[in-house]
């Protein structure tokens, strides 16, 4: 077996610490191994050099000692294909990320590089040509989360003619954007630019929207996911209901509305906001008197039922049950968005005791004309008009001690917008903004901030707010510093708006474990590569977009949604998918039929087969197997082996260190 | 007849002094040692550790002439060959012995083995030292070994050495020196070969008196009386190959390797390569893979066939090739069989079973 070892300098990334020439000489000493080095192995001349060596020296396997396989494994596999070799006869020794970049001692690093290369040679000697497996692609996409990102992705995919399903937890799609009054920097009315998208999505024949429902389980693999969606009972018949609104006018029960950020009421049967899509109400089983009475004693007829009486279309169905829908999908897009930081952990800002210390989202609802105060800025405590408002930046962002070390990117901009809208509503109101640094790094963002400061006279004070007191007459005394003038500042304000940061959706961990995609320590989903693949995840066929990947503003969310959609369209455009051939295979002569393998297989990809001599043995279902190798460690006689990482190869690698 | 001249009386400490002398001359002394209430023939550095009151050691003496694992060839990659962790130590040095690039074997003296084991080497010499195919490894070790046998005063109920013509608890066949413990601290030593001569160089010890000789006779008599088992191999064994009783007899056998390994005369081995060394190691014919061919075909797959083969090789094929049974009656296969199969009984049952067509 002729093996070619190609050691890369990676410019000076590798050769700065590792004596590449010594590695080449040591490797060339091994029997049947030809070694050479080149400055940039991944460059075109580098790859052509490999191809010519393969042809010239009739190599059987290629070892590339360069950077991490996660970067260029695919590139070099294609090089092997162009060189006429099976792509799986390639082994990569990672002597950059795990050797030259992390060690300083030159000869120890060189010696480690030789060990890594020798280990790769030992593995390559036992490599078998593998042929990817063709698998069909289900041409429909599942979008989890109905915010602007989810809607945009669904629109892009359906406009290309593929079936899409949006699953939204809330009674209506629209997500957090539906709560906003205006958007920066163009001051477009948020609902005005969102509702057309929502309507376009709902009217498109290719998009099916399941609201008030959750994804319970996702199995399968790229091209063949099968998802189980639970559509929770709305107790309202979707077809019959015309959305006339009589039921929620007549309903006697008043409850705090989550959509209004607990500033305004909603009824037990409610629609979160006027332009809801679908415009069909949901009965909140917890607070509805009928359901509460039914829970007390199930036999009774149940109280109230006013909505049922007044409904002209007779659409109320109290005995509606949750529906479970099982569907097959080719790809999954996760767009579960963000949730606001809970500012109660900050004792210095009143820890939620003062009603007039509101979060930015609450202030957004106050500004909104369809909000609880119809757009008038009234103090939640005594609903008097607030003339002096203090905005406090970085509440729940850039704060290591509260576990949110990152910057949420959007707070500076929405605070400036809110201050501007305050001055529009009440021209002679005065607005103060306590900030650390103004982050306005988008198109026309800086100009917008300039305009807010100059044209609208919003006073920016560089410093943090140290304490907020409640004085006798109900005003809020805000004490902070102004580092630019170097003085302590004390403002008596009618209301304080905290620019709360963006944290991850609480469902992220559960969803991530269900789909099998990783998340980082701030519980945002981890993208496949921070720079080069922000919309993909490590799991093939699963894509992420919007704030669930990291806090971002609407333009970025929409752009990333488009990116995710384009990846899905790329996937759907192929007739067949090439599946990694790294799969398990059973040597049925040795198998005892004890099925320890089936007991540990997470994908139950092993089933029984009866041989001629009536003995029952295990068989791997190629399409279900993901190649994790659990069955191999469980098998007492190692009758099952993993192509690409066989027992023999790993033992050879261990022996190669002797 | 034991000639007068070569016999003498010796006390226990003198015997120990002589053994200590052997170790001093850098000759390997192997003697029975007690370990977890079983006795093994092991290399001993000081004579105190030798065990005296034992019926027989677990592993037969063939273990030291034809070792369980022997490196035939070492094709190490130039670096010093990987550790040779064989049971018995080898002289370090790099000199090559005639058989291959292995260092030569050290001189060794085996003390305290029983007459049946000593005789087993005579039996093993035939297959290993035939004129046409001489096993050089065996030959080298056999020449460099001196056997000091200890006569059996109380044989076990599984022993049947007296069923063989030069067998018996006091037989001197095969050993260089035969010791008989005639008294508490008195040993009658008899030199039987020049190798034995070299060990007991100056026999300045007392000649045995007539009374000691008489004691020797009746010790020998009542030792032979203690043997209650006898071997009766049916003459028409070859025709009984198809007998049905083999099937029923082999039912309780679990096909492990004990009766093959611990038999004093079984000599089958396998050759394989491990870590740049060509090894020879024992392999029992009771394992399924013993007759596995490269095609994967196994000729003796059924347990009863493998069970039967052991009897036929010992009492039929070997007799045809070398003229004697491949057995010395040490009784280990009866003593250590986990399911207590007694081959003499099996032979008896097979003998009187009618010849089924």
């Amino acid at each position: 077996m002729k093996i070619g070892v190609f050691v890369c300098h990676c410019g000076t990334n590798i050769s700065a610490v590792i004596d590449v020439q010594k590695v080449v000489n040591d490797l060339a000493k091994m029997p049947g191994v030809f070694a050479m080095d080149y400055k940039f192995m991944c460059s075109d001349p580098g790859q052509n050099m490999i191809i010519s060596e393969i042809k010239q020296k009739k190599l059987d396997a290629v070892i590339v000692a360069a950077c991490s396989p996660c970067l260029h494994e695919l590139t070099f596999r294609n090089t092997l294909i162009r060189g006429g070799l099976n792509p799986y006869m390639l082994e990569i020794a990672n002597i950059r990320e795990q050797d030259s970049w992390v060690h300083t001692d030159r000869d120890k690093a060189t010696e480690k590089a030789v060990r890594l290369a020798k280990m790769a040679v030992a593995k390559a000697k036992r490599n078998q040509p593998l042929f990817p497996q063709e698998v069909s692609v289900e041409k429909s996409c599942l979008v989890i989360g109905g915010g602007i990102a989810g809607i945009q992705a669904a629109i892009d995919i359906s406009s290309a003619g593929y079936q899409t399903v949006i699953v939204e937890k809330e009674p209506s799609i629209g997500g957090k954007m539906a709560m906003f009054d205006k958007t920066f920097p163009t001051l477009d009315c948020s609902a005005c630019i969102l509702t057309p998208k929502m309507v376009q999505a709902s009217q498109s024949k290719k998009v099916k929207i399941y609201t008030y429902s959750e994804v319970e389980e996702i199995g399968g693999y790229v091209g063949n996911f099968n998802a189980r969606i639970r559509v929770k009972a709305r107790s309202v018949n979707m077809e019959k209901c015309t959305g006339c609104g009589i039921c929620w006018q007549k309903c006697p029960v008043k409850v705090n509305s989550e959509f209004e950020q607990n500033l305004g009421p909603r009824k037990a049967v409610y629609v979160p906001f006027a332009q809801a899509v679908p415009n069909v109400p949901v009965i909140d089983c917890v607070n509805c008197t009928y359901y509460r009475s039914k829970r007390q004693n199930p036999e009774s007829k149940g109280l109230c039922r006013i909505c049922e009486k007044f409904c002209p279309a007779g659409a109320i169905e109290f005995d509606q049950k949750d529906k479970i829908i099982e569907e097959k999908f080719g790809a999954v897009i996760v767009a579960t968005g963000f949730s606001a930081f809970d500012h109660k952990v900050y004792g210095e800002y009143g820890a939620g005791r003062y009603k007039d210390v509101v979060t930015a989202l609450q202030f957004e609802r106050l500004l909104n004309s369809s909000g609880p105060t119809q757009g008038k800025i009234l103090r939640p405590s005594d609903s008097k008009e607030a003339r002096t408002i203090v905005f406090v930046q970085c509440v729940g962002s850039r704060d290591e001690s509260k576990g949110v070390p990152y910057c949420s990117r959007v707070c500076c901009m929405y605070t400036a917008k809110q201050a501007l809208l305050l001055k529009e509503h009440i021209p002679d109101a005065n607005a103060y903004v306590f900030y650390i640094d103004i982050r306005a790094a988008g198109k026309n963002y800086e100009e917008f901030i300039e305009r807010v400061q100059d044209e609208y006279g919003v006073l920016y004070l560089r410093g943090r707010v140290s304490k907020i007191y409640r004085t006798g007459d109900g005003a809020l005394l805000v004490r902070g510093a102004d580092t630019l003038s170097g003085t302590q500042v004390e403002i008596s304000a009618d209301m304080v708006v905290l620019a709360t940061g963006l944290v991850s959706n609480p469902e992220t961990v559960k969803l991530g474990q269900m789909i099998g995609i990783p998340y980082d320590k701030n519980r945002f989903f981890t993208e496949s590569h921070p720079k080069l693949a922000p919309a993909e995840t490590q799991t093939a066929g699963v894509f992420i977009c919007g704030a669930c990947q990291f806090p971002k503003d609407i333009p970025d969310s929409v752009a990333q949604a488009g990116a995710a959609a384009s990846k899905v369209l790329g996937l759907f455009s192929q007739e067949h998918l090439m599946l990694e051939p790294v799969l398990a295979c059973v040597n049925q002569k040795i198998c005892n039929g004890c099925f320890h393998c089936r007991a540990v297989c997470p994908y139950n990809a092993i089933d029984e087969e009866i041989l001629k001599d009536k003995s029952v043995v295990a068989r791997v279902i190629e399409s279900k197997c993901h190649g994790c190798g659990n069955c191999i460690s469980a098998c007492p006689v190692s009758a099952v082996d993993l192509k690409g990482y066989t027992n023999e190869q790993i033992l050879e690698q261990l022996q190669s260190l002797r | 007849m034991i000639s007068e001249m070569k016999k003498f009386i010796i006390s226990k400490n003198e015997l120990k002094k002589i053994l200590a002398g052997i170790v001093a001359e850098n000759i390997k002394l192997i003697a029975p040692v007690s370990r977890d209430n079983a006795f093994f023939l092991e290399e001993v550095s000081d004579a105190e550790k030798i065990a005296w009151d034992y019926s027989n050691v677990v592993k037969p003496v063939k273990e030291h002439i034809f070792p369980m694992r022997e490196v035939l060839l070492d094709f190490g990659r130039g670096t010093d060959p990987p550790a040779l962790d064989e049971p018995e130590a080898r002289s370090s040095g790099k000199e090559k012995n005639p058989a291959g690039n292995m260092p030569p074997v050290k001189e060794q003296v085996i003390f305290g083995l029983r007459p049946c084991d000593a005789r087993s080497l005579l039996v093993l010499d035939k297959p290993f030292l035939q004129e046409k195919y001489v096993d050089s490894y065996y030959k080298e070790r056999r020449e460099k070994t001196t056997l000091i046998a200890m006569a059996c005063l109380n044989p076990e109920k599984t022993c049947l050495c007296s069923s063989f013509e030069n067998g018996g608890p006091f037989s001197s066949a095969g050993s260089d020196v035969l010791c008989v413990q005639t008294g508490q601290d008195e040993f009658l030593v008899e030199i039987l070969s020049e190798k034995g001569e070299k060990i007991f160089k100056n026999p300045s010890f007392a000649q045995p008196s007539g009374e000691v000789l008489k004691k020797l006779e009746n010790l020998k008599a009542d030792s032979e009386a203690k043997i209650c088992k006898a071997l009766k191999v049916p003459e028409n064994l070859r025709e009984l190959f198809e007998a049905g009783t083999w099937e029923t007899e082999s039912l309780s056998c679990i096909a492990c390797g004990i009766c093959r390994y611990l038999s004093a005369t079984c000599y089958c081995f396998n050759i394989t390569d491990e870590f740049e060394q060509r090894l020879r190691y024992w392999i029992p014919c009771s394992f399924k893979n013993y007759t596995k061919m490269t095609s994967g075909e196994i000729s003796r797959e059924k347990k009863s066939a493998r069970f039967k083969h052991w009897y036929f090789h010992k009492f039929s094929y070997h007799k045809d090739n070398f003229g004697e049974y491949l057995c010395v009656g040490c009784g280990r296969c009866i003593k250590y069989c986990p399911v207590k199969i007694d081959f003499t009984e099996v032979l008896g049952k097979i003998g009187n079973s009618k010849q089924e067509q």
Partner: protein
């Protein structure tokens, strides 16, 4: 033993089973017995000397229907066999025998073997018929079952290593421990694999260590502590010490003991994310 003989005769007469595997006494010692016809069922006995685990003979009676005379500890092996789909329950007729301890052949005074000291399966937990015990029913409970293991664990690690190294040096790779153990039913044992060679087949220190470690590991959560391997070992290696250590660990960490039920997943293949908290995090960084 009349009850046992009648039961065997009844089964053979009604042709419910082809053979009855039990114990028989010849020339003063007890050996396994195969009874095909009702008339020679009189030789069946059961007493303190019946140490063999007859479930082991199912390896050669896989799909024949057979009756087995099984003690409590032996019957647990049937549960593990069923758990691993090796036999069908209806093919086996289990004559359970109430047992209060069997002899330890290797100890000089032939007292009870130490597995019987803390035995809690006097009556088998899986049987089709039970034969009551005639003799005295003395409950011989000798203190804490894993006392010797705990003491051995307290020794410093190189002292432990020397102990085991000397034990494994004696091993002659006769594989009696494998052939006598009902749990070792593999068509081709991992020892006989040479591509890749997991275990050096020649009896060297390395080869013997690897063999004994793999054998013990394969019994984790499967060994029913019948003590046969230690009894069969010609060179007296304390194999049950290794197995008992694993039984102790499986009990402590996953409170699983082998052979209780046949429809449950073996503990080595199972996991409970929360309940595994007993694994102290010193083990895993």
């Amino acid at each position: 033993m009349k009850e046992l003989i009648d039961k065997a005769k009844e089964l053979l007469k009604e042709k419910k089973v082809e053979t009855v595997i039990g114990y028989r006494e010849i020339r003063g010692c007890v050996v396994p017995a195969y009874v095909d016809s009702p008339c020679d069922a009189d030789c069946l006995i059961f007493d303190k000397r019946c140490v063999y685990n007859l479930a082991n003979y199912l390896k050669w009676f896989k799909n024949k229907n057979v009756a087995l005379v099984l003690k409590g500890c032996d019957a647990k092996s049937i549960n593990v066999w069923l758990q691993e789909f090796q036999i069908k329950r209806e093919n086996i007729f289990i004559i359970g025998v109430e047992c209060y301890g069997v002899m330890n052949e290797k100890s000089a005074d032939a007292g009870l073997s130490d597995k019987c000291g803390h035995c809690e399966a006097h009556v088998p937990n899986i049987y089709d018929a039970v034969i009551k015990h005639q003799g005295d029913k003395k409950e011989s409970v000798q203190g804490e079952p894993f006392k010797d293991i705990q003491e051995f664990e307290k020794l410093p690690h190189d002292e432990r290593w020397d102990f085991w190294k000397k034990q494994f040096e004696k091993c002659i790779k006769c594989y009696a421990c494998r052939e006598i153990c009902p749990m070792c039913y593999c068509k081709e044992c991992i020892v006989e694999r040479n591509i890749p060679q997991w275990i050096m087949s020649s009896p060297s220190v390395k080869g013997n260590f690897e063999w004994n470690m793999v054998r013990a590991f394969h019994l984790a959560g499967r060994c029913v502590e019948c003590g046969e391997c230690e009894r069969a070992c010609p060179v007296n290696i304390p194999l049950m010490k290794l197995n008992k250590k694993l039984i102790k660990e499986m009990k402590e960490l996953f409170d699983y003991s082998a052979g209780q039920k046949e429809d449950v997943k073996s503990a080595i293949d199972d996991f409970y994310p929360e309940k595994d908290i007993k694994i102290d995090d010193k083990m895993i960084r």
